[in-house]
Symmetry: C2
Subunit: 198 residues, 2 copies
Amino acid sequence: MRHFVVIGQKATASPGFLLDDLPGTSGRLDLLLRCVRAALLVSHGVRRDTRVYLVLLGGPDAPRTVRIDGAIAEYLRPDERSMATRVQKALATPKGSAAFVALRNGFAIADGGVEVVLADLGASARYVLEESGRDVRAGSFADDCAFFVGDHLGLDEATRRAIGGATAISVGPVSVHADDAIAIVNNELDRNGSAAPV
Amino acid sequence: MRHFVVIGQKATASPGFLLDDLPGTSGRLDLLLRCVRAALLVSHGVRRDTRVYLVLLGGPDAPRTVRIDGAIAEYLRPDERSMATRVQKALATPKGSAAFVALRNGFAIADGGVEVVLADLGASARYVLEESGRDVRAGSFADDCAFFVGDHLGLDEATRRAIGGATAISVGPVSVHADDAIAIVNNELDRNGSAAPV
């Protein structure tokens, strides 16, 4: 099982953003939506062995976390606006549960941030994408793995402390967008033979 | 110099699409816009050594080709809607030139499809992304290189014939979206030492 945990330091945990201006009204949720596509979608299919967590640390309702489970996800479309609509619907769920509440079509939501994710991940081996980390091509990965990914602001100190002990991984010599980094990690895992049918 | 040539078999060559419904009204131009981001944008910067061509083969005004030159591109934002607005403005330019007409901020447009691109590329070594190709990690690339990428429909026969002689390259064992394939190619080129400052 693969997991990607994307930390949005300013990404809104409230549904009141504008689909017509995602970058300007959602705390750069657009960046996280692109990560969902890169993590879960392949040509004409969904990675059924992959889960994505969007940790939303922005706005008055934060922290909240949206989980999207490739094993049961349906009607996932790659474009940002469709993905934004799905996340907006999830965020319209009233707060009140520190455990994940299953919504329709593979989405779930919980109050809380990275600590909720860590509890949900259980024993998955933890990796964090960092420019100073070991090369993604050097060494292997656990079959049950979780990759923590920062947004355009990187990773905050509280998150770093919470995931302490994670192995730092670098995807290459150029600092790329989070969604490209996820594409590169998925490619490496695919090459290591852990690709599941889509 | 790196070049990515994305062929949109149905992507509209006319500006009359809806920003609120890109997938439904633009012949899947959304897919091509994501390729522009993956090809040109990195963390807090633009790949100055990279050009993207969007070959638009859909609609009554087709074929037309939009070129985006990283060396001089300005105000490029990563989200699909912003990118769509930029391409829409380029497409509002009246037809009438089989050579590229420079627009503002790194954009250019020409009547015509892949033949116009090939004339513009000159002597760049040609590669085509194909699942049956040689592994992107096996062997090196010319410094001046051009990668042809299909959309969700793959590459049409006319395009295949026009780019005959291109080396087929595979990015990995799983068939991924075009933007992810571009991210993987860029990563490989970055590792081979041809990364330019952004």
